[in-house]
C-alpha cells in the first residue's frame, strides 16, 4: 500500500539557516533582478569600453614604446581611468539604485521584510550590497584588471615595483566612489516612493552642488569653495591617494570631512526611514 501524501498544509521539518544571513538573500535577488533588465546589462557592458581602450593603449605601448611619449601609461593614467568611470558610476547608481528602497516603500514591502528574522541593518546591508556590487563592477574590477593587463603585456612587475602605491590607491579611490554613491543613493531612495523622483534628487545632488561650486568660483575667483561640490571633494581626495597635488585649494582634510559627513547623514536618514511602521508626527 502506498503512503497517502498530504497535499494540504504540512509542517516543515527541513533545515533552517543560521540567522543573520538574510542580507545575502536580498543582495543576490536584487542583483539578479537588476541583471534581468536587458538595457541595464547593456549599460554594464558599455561601461567597460574605457577598459578596452586602456587595454589597447597598454598593448600598443608594448609594441611601440614611443607611444609612451604621447600617451603615457603611468600611475596618473590609472587615476584618470577611475575618474573616467565616474560617468558610469553616475548612470549605474541612478538605474540600479533609485528603486532599491523606493520600490519597496511604494509596495509596502518594508513591513514584509522586517517581519522576517532580519535586522534593519541587514536589509540596508543587502540593498547596499546590490548597488555596491554593480559600482565595483564598473570601477574597481576594470581598474584592477587594467593593472593586470599592464603586468601581462609588460611581462614583468617593473611598473608595480616603481609605483607600489598604485594598487592600494586604485582600491581606495574606487571604494570611496562606491561607498559615497551607494550610501547617498540609498538614503535618497528611502525618502520617496517614486523611483523617478529619487533619480532626479540624486542627479540634482551631483549637478546642483557642482553648479554652485562653478558659480562660487566665478564670484570668488578661488577654488577654496570646492568643498560645496560632492564630485570636487572626491577628486581632491583622489589626488592625494595617487600622490598628486590637490587640484583645488580646499584643504583635503575638509574634503574628507565633507564626505564623511555625507556618509553620516546618509546612514542617519536610512536609520530613520527604514522601519516596519511609518510614524507621522
Amino acid at each position: 500500500m502506498s503512503p497517502i501524501h498530504d497535499q494540504s498544509y504540512r509542517h516543515y521539518e527541513g533545515e533552517r539557516r543560521a540567522l543573520g544571513r538574510a542580507w545575502s538573500v536580498i543582495a543576490r535577488t536584487g542583483i539578479q533582478s537588476s541583471l534581468s533588465r536587458r538595457w541595464f546589462a547593456v549599460l554594464l557592458v558599455v561601461s567597460w569600453l574605457p577598459f578596452v581602450v586602456g587595454t589597447i593603449q597598454i598593448y600598443a605601448l608594448t609594441l611601440y614604446p614611443q607611444v609612451n611619449q604621447i600617451w603615457p601609461v603611468d600611475a596618473h593614467r590609472f587615476m584618470q581611468f577611475i575618474e573616467q568611470q565616474s560617468i558610469w558610476v553616475f548612470f549605474v547608481t541612478i538605474f540600479a539604485g533609485s528603486g532599491l528602497i523606493a520600490n519597496d516603500r511604494r509596495a509596502n514591502a518594508l513591513q514584509i521584510y522586517l517581519s522576517k528574522p532580519l535586522l534593519r541593518s541587514e536589509y540596508i546591508g543587502g540593498k547596499f550590497a546590490v548597488l555596491a556590487t554593480f559600482l565595483m563592477f564598473v570601477t574597481l574590477l576594470p581598474a584592477l584588471l587594467l593593472l593586470v593587463m599592464q603586468v601581462m603585456f609588460a611581462g614583468n612587475l617593473d611598473f608595480l615595483r616603481a609605483n607600489m602605491y598604485v594598487v592600494p590607491s586604485v582600491i581606495l579611490a574606487s571604494l570611496m566612489r562606491v561607498l559615497i554613491s551607494a550610501a547617498t543613493m540609498l538614503a535618497l531612495s528611502s525618502l520617496s516612493k517614486s523611483t523617478r523622483f529619487v533619480a532626479i534628487l540624486y542627479a540634482g545632488a551631483i549637478f546642483f552642488t557642482n553648479a554652485i561650486y562653478v558659480l562660487l568660483v566665478a564670484i570668488t575667483g578661488s577654488t577654496r569653495v570646492a568643498w560645496v561640490s560632492i564630485g570636487a571633494n572626491m577628486e581632491n581626495v583622489t589626488d592625494v591617494m595617487f600622490r598628486q597635488p590637490p587640484r583645488y585649494e580646499t584643504p583635503v582634510i575638509v574634503s574628507i570631512l565633507i564626505l564623511l559627513g555625507l556618509l553620516a547623514v546618509s546612514f542617519s536618514v536610512l536609520e530613520r526611514r527604514v522601519r516596519g511602521v511609518e510614524i507621522v508626527a
Binding site: Y12, G14, V25, A107, I112, V277, I279
Partner: protein, 311 residues
C-alpha cells in the same frame, strides 16, 4: 505563563505624545485568539510591538517564551505576520515572492521554493502562482499575504484584518483556512479584527481592546455564558420609561433592530422563569404591553458591546 503564546506585562506604547497602548497586561493562550476592538483601539500597534516594529515605552513583551526586546530575530523566525495593508515585493510573481520570503526566514533555496508551491496551493492560488503580484485582485492579495506568512511554517501567526476587502465567498474561504490552521494544523494564531463574526467563527479565545487598554479577555464561551442571561423583548406603549425601569432594576438594555430590546439580566438564576416574571412585572408597572419575550443566545457582539461599553 507556560500555556501562553504571547504575554504582555505592563506594556505602554506611544506615537509621540499619542498613547496607543496604556499599561496593558494580558496573556494570549495557545490556540486561536481573537484580538478585537474598534478602529484605533490599538490592535495593530500591539501586533507591531510584538514584532518589534515599535518599542514599548514601558513593560515587557514575550512571544513563545522569548523576550521580544532581547531576542527579536528568534521571535520573528517563529512568527508569521500577515499585515493589514497590501504588501509585496515589486516585480515578482507569486511563487518567487513566497519562496523569497521563505529564504528570508532561513529556509534553503530549494526548500523555500517547494514550500512556496505547497502553501500557494493550500491558500488557493495554485493556478495563479506564476502571475505577477501587481495583477492580483484584492482577495488574491489577501491570500498571498497569508501564504508568505506561512511559508516557513511558523509556530504562531499574526493575522491583521485578514478578510479586509474580500467578497463574501472569498471571506468564507479565508475564514475556513484560518480555522483549519488553528484547529487541524496546530498553528497558534492571533487574529486581529473588528469583524466579530470572523473572530467568533475562527477563535476560541478573545482579547478585547478599547482605547489602548484591555476591556476584557477570556474564552469566548465563558465570556458569553454565565455573566448574564439575555432576553429579547418587544413592547407596545411608552418604551423609554420601561427601559429606564429595567435599568433601575439592575438589568442592562440594548436596543436592536425592529423595536426589539435585548435585556441582560445579571447574577445567578435562582428560580426558573424568574427573569421573565421580573421583566413582565416592570412592564406592568410602566403600563406597557409585552408583545414578545423570548430567551436570546448571547453573542460575541454582546460580549464586545458590554466590554467596550464598560471600559
Amino acid at each position: 505563563m507556560a500555556d501562553s503564546a504571547v504575554t504582555l506585562d505592563h506594556v505602554s506604547v506611544a506615537y509621540g505624545k499619542q498613547a496607543a497602548l496604556r499599561d496593558v497586561s494580558v496573556a494570549f493562550p495557545k490556540g486561536a485568539v481573537g484580538l478585537l476592538g474598534p478602529n484605533g483601539a490599538g490592535k495593530s500597534t500591539m501586533l507591531k510591538a510584538l514584532l518589534g516594529f515599535v518599542a514599548p515605552k514601558t513593560g515587557r513583551l514575550q512571544v513563545l517564551g522569548l523576550n521580544v526586546a532581547e531576542r527579536p530575530l528568534e521571535v520573528r523566525s517563529r512568527l508569521g505576520y500577515m499585515p493589514e495593508n497590501d504588501g509585496h515585493i515589486p516585480g515578482m510573481n507569486a511563487v518567487t515572492f513566497v519562496a523569497y520570503c521563505g529564504q528570508l526566514s532561513g529556509l534553503p533555496k530549494t526548500d523555500a521554493m517547494q514550500r512556496a508551491h505547497e502553501v500557494l496551493y493550500y491558500v488557493g492560488l495554485g493556478e495563479a502562482r506564476y502571475r505577477k503580484l501587481e495583477e492580483y485582485s484584492t482577495g488574491m492579495k489577501q491570500r498571498i499575504k497569508l501564504a508568505q506568512a506561512l511559508v516557513h511554517d511558523p509556530a504562531l501567526l499574526f493575522l491583521d484584518e485578514p478578510t479586509n476587502g474580500m467578497d463574501p465567498k472569498g471571506r468564507e474561504e479565508m475564514l475556513e483556512l484560518i480555522r483549519d490552521l488553528a484547529h487541524n494544523k496546530g498553528v497558534d494564531l492571533i487574529l486581529s479584527s473588528h469583524l466579530l463574526p470572523d473572530v467568533e467563527y475562527t477563535c476560541d479565545h478573545v482579547v478585547v481592546l478599547d482605547k489602548g487598554a484591555i476591556a476584557t479577555s477570556g474564552s469566548i464561551d465563558q465570556l458569553k455564558g454565565p455573566s448574564a442571561r439575555v432576553y429579547e423583548v418587544r413592547v407596545k406603549g411608552p418604551h423609554a420609561p420601561f427601559v429606564a425601569a429595567l435599568v433601575a432594576a439592575g438589568m442592562r438594555c440594548e436596543e436592536s433592530d425592529e423595536d426589539v430590546t435585548r435585556v441582560f439580566v445579571p447574577g445567578p438564576l435562582v428560580v426558573p422563569g424568574e427573569d421573565q416574571q421580573r421583566i413582565c412585572a416592570e412592564a406592568l408597572k410602566c403600563g406597557v404591553q409585552v408583545r414578545h419575550l423570548r430567551t436570546s443566545l448571547p453573542s460575541l457582539e454582546d460580549v464586545f458591546a458590554r466590554a467596550v461599553g464598560e471600559s
